[in-house]
Amino acid sequence: METFIQQILNGLVLGSMYALIALGYTMVYGVLNLINFAHGDVLMIGAMVGLSILRLLDSTFPGLPGGVQLAIAIVGAIPVTMLVNVLIERIAYRRLRNAPRLAPLITAIGVSILLKTFAMMIWGRSPLPFPQLLSSEPIMIGGAVISQTQVLLLVLATVAMFALAMLVEKTRIGRAMRAVAENPRVAGLMGVDSNRVIVATFAIGAALAAVAGVMWGANYASIQFETGTVPGMKAFCAAVLGGIGNIYGAMIGGIVLGIIESLGAGYIGDLTGGFLGSHYQDIFAFVVLILVLTVRPSGIMGERVADRA
């Protein structure tokens, strides 16, 4: 039972990070029908900028409490990733809106390679240690442990997702985003400036990625120029699992994927009689993804898209 609670907690932590990243994928997909393959690397840039800010703070104001430092790092990383993501959209995607479907996919891959290379040039190749900012005293919940960083992560993710839901449901720009996602042409006729909406979408996705990136660093204590690849891929899975294009789907997909993955890591050995070990946890996630998609071809929350007439 303790293992179970522990794995659920781990899953929630992992899943809320996936959800934050998946939101970036799914929002962009919603308005542009495009997989922003560079999104994972935007997350990495966020983590790297956060780390640089932390180092700067450490040298200029050595006495600051850890929580404040972390907050400044996150707040500082957000505008940088926003700028990066908006630039990516402007340079690599905008001209290709009417191009064959795979063209923007390839530019996305090119941008992803470029971001990784720039990060390698600026921050070097080797993994950088991310400082331990919050107290490492663990919190016990029913026999399971969770670190303070992870609690903060859960809180931040919840707040961010709630704020995003509010933004999309209640504000003017949110309504415009929903309109463009529904039907860009009609939205344009109704006076929605779709370019502005698209830029806003990329910026919001990047802000969430920055939060996830800095917290990823704080949680795993080490980041590298390739840090974004795996979470990016997993979050893309999560977005698809939830039904790509649907923001609540991305949240649910992220959490579900995180929990499945950590339960898989915890129990796969027992399930297969020791034949498969916990290093197969990734397989577990992908197999579940494939199974879910065979039953529900458009994901958990995805609408059944009518076949083209």
């Binding site: 997909y29 308005v31 891959i109 990734d282 992908f286 993804l289 998609l293």
Partner: protein, 404 residues
Amino acid sequence: MAFLTFDTAHKPRQSYASMAVLLAAMLVFPFVAAQFGNSWVRIIDMALLYIMLALGLNIVVGFAGLLDLGYIAFFAVGAYLTGLLASPQFAALLESVISYHPALQDAIVATFGEDVRTNGIHLSVWAIVPLAGLVAALFGALLGAPTLKLRGDYLAIVTLGFGEIIRIFMNNLNDPINFTNGPQGINLIDPIRIFGVSLAGEAGSKATVFIGGFGMPSVNAYYFLFLLLCIATIFMTSRLQHSRLGRAWVAIREDEIAAKAMGINTRNVKLLAFSMGASFGGVAGAMFAAFQGFVSPESFSLTESISVLAMVVLGGIGHIPGVVLGGVLLAALPEVLRHVVEPAQQALFGKVLIEAEVLRQLLYGLALVLIMLNRPAGLWPSPIKEDRPVAATDKDEKEEGAVA
């Protein structure tokens, strides 16, 4: 590309002439390149393998329009199959089976002879190539089956997952039964031996291959083998493209519902696209394993799948000469840059400003972005305007509107 054309239907003379010119150039190439060192020929050898891969992927992505982000898995299947059946690895596998199924082990030893226990299995290339093609095709169908109902990006993620699953298995299937030797990979894979001539050169010949008294470096021998396979692949895929099946693929790509209404069995045709595409990947993988003499999971990461996809899309999706061009560019160029960049910087600035590896990545990424921005349909797209209305076939309302 103005002076080279491969449009045999409309300009037969010109296209056969360009083929002949190209073939002659390809035949002479290794002897010229070998003057500058065998590493150049080696680069082209790898490029030829990648062209085979790209042509195989082109069947799935280009002809049938099914986005596959896990194509390298089939390359891996072919390579590991060769690793298992043409190296001492099988002995290690057998040893790990002992504790689990002694009876199974006895059965295997009884079939293959006592030698298996110490030396493993060493099949000849004539058995390996068809077997690799077949097994990869089987895996292709295995991937295809659960994805039949999926569309577009949902398909992409499942194929991506499939590729990762295969890679993770290769990384971990060394325990409890040692199939793949885990992250270390399989070593000592037999070189290819055709009619008694080993393409790696006999022992003590300094990797020189003698064919009828005529000697050439091992990489050149492999070059000709791969060239032959590439030509065979080009021939087969272009015949496939113009066959009934090829037209069915295009029909599915353009509109699956309409294709179904026209009486095409979309399920079988899609599965055929997956498995036929996969079989080329499998053969290329077998060649890769024998050429390198070594396979490890690192060679089969998601990045590789993506770079093969980039070759197809960048070259000109669905257009065979374009795909070949994309393969040559993206497979050979980074390697050439790796060799050229540092000496060039030495000559220009007297010191190395940017590491070759970094610069190579930069240029590769930039090339992908710039080429796609300027030529969204690829460097050498299909010239034939197919007999269909151009407007609104590929994109739904939504994408069109996004620009408005």
